[in-house]
């Protein structure tokens, strides 16, 4: 499943959290987002079964924008555009 396929710019950073469980994907994603500028994109790869719920919630709470979600069998890929408030 791919939602919101867009012509967004390529991710500035890719973070692979395969094998990690909550809270590590969110924790590491937040650290990675600290290192990029507002408007830039973090590509986040997750295998935590909770990530399909957690990552949209994280983006919502932080004020980032989830521009892409891919759900591939056991792996989920998210593109998160850093917002201006965090």
């Amino acid at each position: 499943m791919t939602t919101n396929p867009t012509s967004e710019p390529a991710p500035a950073v890719t973070l692979d959290t395969s094998g990690l469980l909550c809270p590590l994907p969110v924790y590491k994603a937040a650290l990675a987002l600290k290192g990029i500028e507002p408007g830039q994109i973090l590509e986040l790869i997750c295998t935590d079964p909770g990530s399909l719920a957690d990552i949209p919630a994280m983006a919502h709470q932080r004020g980032d924008r989830l521009v892409r979600t891919e759900d591939r069998d056991t792996t989920q890929v998210f593109w998160i555009e850093k917002g201006t408030t965090t």
Binding site: Y27, A30, M58, Q61, G63
Partner: protein
Amino acid sequence: MTVSIQPHPTESTDANTPKRLALVASKGTLDQAYPPLILATTAVSLGWEVGIYFTFYGLDILHKDRFEKLKVASLANPAGPLQVPNIVGAIPGATALATKTMKRWMANSAMPTVPEFIDMARDLNVTFFACATTMGIMNVTETDLIDGCDIAGAAAFLDYAATADVQLFI
């Protein structure tokens, strides 16, 4: 150790004010140390402000000599990592085995240890409130605690929690 806790306004209307999570960590077993630390590190990752009030046995999570040696027992713990009859759980070594089993679960899942979680939370400016009453009751002194704790009583924590968006007792 400095006491950096200040009274907070009773209400904030500033949209830029971060959300706040106020947790009470009241248990000092290995399994029960994880939930407050997981919730705290998650909340700060969401941009929230987080304070944890470590009280009664939960204070062991901040105790220099104990926080690396937290245990989980199988005795009277039917959901624990070592599911054996209580009479077996009472045998010397059963608690050590249950603790070892739980630590192995965590390591196999690439989960941080409790000391690692403490470091993560501290690096992200989570406020650690050490319950002053517990310290008095259990003869814990300031020097027994890890660095970076704020010694506080219930009033100071409630003042912090009064403006929290989420408050949980664990």
